[in-house]
Symmetry: D2
Subunit: 307 residues, 4 copies
C-alpha cells in the first residue's frame, strides 16, 4: 500500500484546529481535541493497518445508529424496517423535526437523523429477559469484534440529563403513533447505545463486515444478510454525514457514518475503516477525521463513483 498512515495523520493534524469537541455534555467537552487515529482493515489480505490514537476508546454516539439499524433488520426483516422509516434526505440538521412537520410526514425521513434512530431503537423488543440495549451491546461486540465494548455510565447519565430535545422528538413520534415502544424505554435504549465505548479498530471491523457483504472477514461467518449490508451502505452514503452527506459523497465517495464523539466508520469495497478525532465541524462531523478519510479515498482510489 502506497499510503503511509502516519504521514497521513501528520498531514491532517492541523485540521484539528478548525473544529471543536462536542460540548453538550461534560464528558465529551473534556475530551482532548488533539487526537487523531485510524485503523484500516484490508479485507482481502486480512491485514489491519492502524496509526495514531487507534486504540483510544471514545463514545460511539451516532455511529451506533448503523449497528442498531442492522440489528433491527436482523430481528424484524428489512421490509418491516422500511415500513417504519424512510431513506430520504431531510435537508435539515439531525435533531430537528422541521422536515417532518413541513412535509406532513409521520414516519422519520431516514434512520440516521435522531428521530429516525430513536424510532429504530424502539423497534427492538425485550427478549428472553434481555433488554433491547443488552441485545444491542452483544451485537455490537460481535460485529465490532470487540468484547471490550462497554457502556460508559458517566456519558449515559449525561445523555439522560441533557436529552430533552431527544425526548421532544420521541414524544412527537409517539403523538404521530409511530414509536413502537414507550418513550422511556426507547430513549433508554437510544441513550445507552450512544454511550458505548469503541476504538478505531472496533469501527474498522464493523466497516469490514459491511465491506465484505455482511460476512466477518476474521471468521468467515455471515453476521448480517447481504441485503442488510447493501441497504446500510446506501443509507450511509446518502444520509450518513448528516446535512453534509451530499457534500462528502462528492469529496470522498465512501459510505460513512459519523458520531459527535469524533468517530467515523467507513466501508469501501474491500476496506473497512475506523477513524477517531473529536474536533467537529458545525454539522457535527470530525474535521480531521474526514480530511484523513478523503486522503485515504484518494490515495487508495476508494471513491465508489470513480468507475
Amino acid at each position: 500500500m502506497a499510503l503511509n498512515l502516519n504521514d497521513a495523520i501528520q498531514a491532517c493534524w492541523k485540521r484539528i484546529d478548525e473544529g471543536q469537541v462536542a460540548t453538550y455534555i461534560p464528558a465529551l467537552a473534556k475530551v482532548d481535541p488533539y487526537q487523531l487515529g485510524v485503523c484500516l482493515y484490508d479485507v482481502d489480505s486480512g491485514k489491519k493497518n492502524c496509526a495514531g490514537a487507534a486504540n483510544v476508546r471514545f463514545a460511539i454516539e451516532s455511529v451506533s445508529k448503523v449497528i442498531t439499524l442492522l440489528y433491527a433488520i436482523e430481528r424484524l426483516g428489512l421490509a418491516k424496517v422500511e415500513e417504519q422509516v424512510g431513506t430520504r434526505q431531510t435537508g435539515f440538521a439531525f435533531d430537528t423535526i422541521l422536515n417532518m412537520e413541513i412535509t406532513k410526514e409521520t414516519k422519520p425521513l431516514n434512520p440516521f437523523v435522531n428521530s429516525g434512530a430513536i424510532l429504530v431503537s424502539s423497534l427492538i423488543e425485550e427478549e428472553d429477559h434481555r433488554s433491547p440495549f443488552d441485545q444491542i451491546l452483544d451485537f455490537t461486540r460481535e460485529i465490532c469484534h470487540d468484547p471490550q465494548v462497554t457502556l460508559n455510565e458517566e456519558i449515559y447519565q449525561s445523555e439522560l440529563r441533557t436529552g430533552d430535545m431527544n425526548r421532544s422528538l420521541a414524544y412527537y413520534l409517539k403523538a404521530k403513533e409511530t414509536l413502537a415502544n414507550d418513550v422511556t424505554t426507547s430513549l433508554e435504549t437510544y441513550f445507552k447505545q450512544c454511550s458505548m465505548m469503541v476504538t478505531c479498530e472496533s469501527l474498522a471491523n464493523l466497516g469490514a463486515v459491511l465491506a465484505n457483504d455482511g460476512i466477518a472477514p476474521w471468521s468467515g461467518e455471515r453476521l448480517i444478510s447481504s441485503d442488510a449490508a447493501t441497504y446500510a451502505k446506501s443509507v450511509m452514503m446518502t444520509t450518513g454525514l448528516y446535512n453534509e452527506s451530499g457534500t462528502y459523497s462528492v469529496k470522498i465517495g465512501i459510505p460513512t457514518k459519523s458520531g459527535v464523539g469524533g468517530g467515523l466508520v467507513a466501508s469501501a469495497p474491500k476496506y473497512g475503516i475506523g477513524i477517531f478525532s473529536p474536533a467537529l465541524d458545525p454539522a457535527g462531523n470530525s474535521v480531521a477525521g474526514l480530511a484523513l478519510l478523503e486522503m485515504i479515498s484518494r490515495e487508495l482510489k476508494l471513491d465508489i463513483f470513480n468507475y
Copy 2:
C-alpha cells in the same frame, strides 16, 4: 446476459397504469403513456442491447441537467462550478426555493433542482458567436453520440409560455446575486436544453461515457475528465431522482437522472442505460422506467452498494 429485455419490458408494462404523463405543457400531455423502451450499453463488449420503444424520440427535459453540468465543468473547471452550486439534498420538490429560503443559503443546494440547473446554464458563456445553447447542443450530440438530437421548437415555445415558476427562481437567484448571466439568456438556454429530443440509445451512450470514466467507449476518446464523471455520478446518486433520490439509492443503487419527458439515464460500472416511459410518479420520475431499472439492477447485480 441472463436478462431478456423484452421479457423485462413485459413484466414492467402494467406499472405504466400507476403513472401519468406530464401535463404542464400540451406537447408533453399528448404523449402516449403506453410506451416503454430501454437500451443497455455493455462497455466491455461494446454491444448495445435495445428493446421496446428504444428509438422513439422524446423530450430530454431534466436529464439535460447532467449534460449541461458536465459541459460547464469542462468549460469552467470543477472548482468553479462547485463554488457556485452545492451538492446537498434539499428535502423538497424540485421547483421550490423553500430550502434556500429556510436555510438562508444563497447558492442553490444542488445542480439538479431547477434553481441549481438554471444557475449552471447561466454559467455557460457565448463563445465565438455561438450561443450557450448551441454549444450545449453540440456537446449533447457528441456525448450522446447522436447527431440527430435537435431542438423541438413546439416544446421550447411551450416551456417559454409556462415557465413562470422558473422565471421566479431565476429572479430569486438574480436577487441573491448568484445568477451568472441575465435572466432572459439563462432561461432561454435552460428551456432550450430541456427541449432537445433524444432516444433511449442516446441516453445509453451518455450513460456509457459516465460508466467508462469519461471515455467514449465507441471511439476510445476522452470526452470529459475522470473527475467530472465521478462528480456527476455521485450527484446523480444523491439527488438525481428529485426528492426520492434516497428511496431509489436503496432500491436500485445506480446513479440515475430522470426527466419529466419520461427519460432516465443510468450509469452503472460497465453499463450505460437509457430508458423511456412517459407515465410519471408524483415526484416526476418514470414509474415503469424505474421498475425496469430496478429489475435490470437486480438481475445484472449492478447495485454499486452491493459489495
Copy 3:
C-alpha cells in the same frame, strides 16, 4: 337592544353542520354538536342577556390560556411575562413548533399557541402549599364569577393520556432552557387548566372584566390591572383565533379567544360575551359560535376598528 339573541341563535343554527366536534379525546368526541348558547353582559346596565345553551357546562380548553396569562401577569408582572413569551403571530397551527424552529426563536411566539401557553403555565409557582393549578382554579372562579368551576377529572385524564404532542413541545422548551418549571408539573398545570368546566355565563363574566378595564362590573372591584387587560385584549385580537386570527379581526373585530371545547370569550367595549357551540372548523374554532359573534358584532356595532 335591537338584537334578539334567540333569533340570532336560530339564524346561525344551520352553521353547526359545517363543523365537527373535537375527536382527539373521547370526552369531547361524545359531546352533542347541536348546541349553541350565548351570554351577553352589558357592562353599563349590568344586565346579562342569555339564550340557548347558555348554562351548559363545557370544557374550557384553550380559553383558559387567557386566564392563566392574566394570572401570571398578576403574580410576576407584565414585564417578566413579556420577557418569556412574545406576541407575534406564527403563521402556523397552534400545536406546531415549526415557526420557532425556522426562525431559530427560543421563546414561544405568543401565549396562545400551545408552546407559549405551556410556558406561561410553567411560570406559576407553588405558593403556601397551593399548587399552580389550585391557584389558577381559584382565580378562574373569581374572574369568571363562578364558584361552580371545577376540574373535570375524565377530561383531565384524557388530556394526560393523549397529550404527547404537548409533551413534545414541553421538552422542546426545556431543551431550549425556556421552560420555568419541570415538564411534569408544567403539563399537569396545563392539562388541568384545560379541563375546567365553564358556561357561557362564566365566559361572559370574564369578557366583562376585560371590557371594563380589569374591574369586575358585578362588584366594582379591580381584579386585574388595566395594563393586563389591555395586553390580553391585544393578544386576543392578533392571535386568539389561532391561525385565523387575522381573518376574524377583519370579519368581527372583537378580541376573542376560542377553545376546542367549543367555547369563545370575547371582549368588546362595554360588552363581555361568552358563546358555546362545540362543532369546530378545521382551525379549531367554533363555527356557529363565530357566526353568532359576527352577527352580534354587526348588529351592536362592536367592531373596534369601525371608527
Copy 4:
C-alpha cells in the same frame, strides 16, 4: 392637549442611533438619518399639530400599500379583493414567499407583504387611457389632501434596477395563476406607487380619513366606504408593521403601516398621525418613529385595546 410634540421629538431623538437607513437603493441610502417629524390631525377640532421634519418629502414606499388597497376596494369592491388576498399573518419577513410555499397557499396571505401588495396593484386596470399608476397617484393626492405628491423618478428607476426579488414574487404569483395583470405592468405600478414623495402631513391626512370612518375631515366628503376604512385599519393592526405587528399591537395599539422610507401612518379614533424618521429597525420599521408613536399613544390614551 397635554402632549408637547417638540418635547416628544426631543425625547425620542436618541433612538435614531439604534436604526439604519435603508440601503438597498442609493436614493434611500443617502437620506440623512437624523430626521424626525410628526403631524397629528385632531379630527374633532380639525386642527393639525406638526413638529420637527413634518414637511420634509420622503419616499412613501410600503405605506402606499394602504392607499392601493383602498383604491382597489373602491374600484372592485371589498368582496372581490378579499377573494384575491387573505388577511392572515405570515410569521415571516415581508419579501419572502416561504409561508405560501409551506402552507401550499396560492393566494398571498395579506395585502401588506410584498407578494400581496403586488397582487393588489395588479388588480387595478387601465381606464380611459389612464394607467393604473396614474389612477393611484390621483387617488393618493386626494386621500392625502396633497396635490404635491409626485413620482420620484430617481427612486423609481432604482426600484426597477434592484427589484429582482419582487420580480421573483410576481412570477411566483403568475405561475400560481393569481396575478391579475402581466408581470411588467403589475411591477411598474408597484414600483411607481412606492416611489411617490409624501410628507408627515400627507400621511396625517390619510390617517385622518381612516380615523373618520372614510370621510375627509377637511371637506366632509366621503372618500372611501366605511367598510373599506374598517377593513384597512384591522389589517394595519394585525399585519401593518411586518413581522413585528403583534409586538406593536401590544406596545402601541393603533392601526399603523410603515414604509422603508421611514414613514408611518397611524389611525386612532379621532386622530390621524403621520410620522417620518428614516432610521429603521431590522424588521424595516422606523425606530424613532415607533418610539414617538408609542409616546403619543400613551399620552393621549389612544391604545384601542385600552377600554
